[in-house]
């Protein structure tokens, strides 16, 4: 008999490596370009945190993914709310809200993670945090993680769209 989670949390981190290029002696067309840590930055950067989210989320669609050992009949009464395919990814071909539950539309977003699974250079993804203006960009293979402030960023505000070509994403949007 499955036991409901008594609490949920997400441990998240970022890592940044600023680099500058060097060319070896025989570099004629970029094939011998090497990189080192950028001199002004001097090191890598990063941070780590833990977001405590709500134990009982707004529906099964709070994440695009499914556990590899999960059975649909164990999803409780919310299995029909699963908003994406069983592959655990969602195709983005136009403006798409990540919140499919109108009852939670105005709930604050406590944690958001989006991974762009596109690999081609024209498969960038743009993200809106106000439902209208797209001001964050996720390059192919890139990702975004953030903690909402608990007030201004609400579930209905988070939308994604392709920049040029269709792409696919994985995501977590938790209240």
């Amino acid at each position: 008999m499955p036991s409901p989670a008594t609490a949920r949390r997400v441990v998240f981190s970022t890592h940044v490596s600023p680099q500058e290029s060097l060319s070896l002696e025989e570099n004629t067309s970029g094939e011998l370009t090497k990189y080192k840590i950028e001199g002004g930055a001097g090191r890598t950067y990063g941070g780590k945190g833990t977001v405590t989210t709500t134990a009982d989320q707004w529906g099964e669609a709070w994440t695009s993914m499914n556990h590899p050992l999960q059975y649909w009949q164990d999803m409780g009464s919310n299995w029909e709310d699963e908003g994406v395919g069983w592959t655990g990814t969602q195709t983005i071909s136009g403006a798409t809200s990540l919140n499919v539950d109108t009852a939670s539309a105005s709930a604050p977003v406590l944690f958001l993670y989006i991974r762009n699974l596109g690999t081609a250079s024209d498969q960038s993804l743009k993200v809106s945090l106000d439902g209208t203006n797209y001001k964050v960009c996720i390059p192919p293979k890139g990702s975004l993680s953030l903690r909402g402030d608990g007030t201004t960023l609400q579930m209905e505000d988070v939308k994604v769209n392709k920049v040029t070509s269709n792409t696919t994403i994985e995501f977590i949007i938790a209240k």
């Binding site: 036991s3 989670a5 990702s143 953030l146 903690r147 201004t152």
Partner: protein, 128 residues
Amino acid sequence: MADRIIYKNHCVPQEKLAFAGGDRWYQDSDCGRKLTGIAESKSTSINTPVTGTFSSTISLSSVKFVHVKNTDTSGSDYLLVNVGSMGALIKLLPGESFSSDVGSTASDSTTVAITASGTPDYEYIKGA
């Protein structure tokens, strides 16, 4: 020399089960795994990193990539990041950072404003 920024966002969703003898955190069974995405930023010019103690709004313009960190190690002071004047705020507690390309396309830039509650220490890197 050309600059580039390689950046990564990683997360580990977890759920807690209570049982006799104690509680334990497990990998979240809704998600099933950890997530990582690593990419090269569209920024090709890295400004010198800036550190300080927050005293007034920090306004950055022509930003293609931004890394902001609350470098406090304890306490409850936090930073708030507003990308592109969207109004929705990203909260950074001590030790947390936000690292992302910004701007709506793979080539353009936007503004970033950093405010705070309290007077946390900070560091940021702007990529243009």
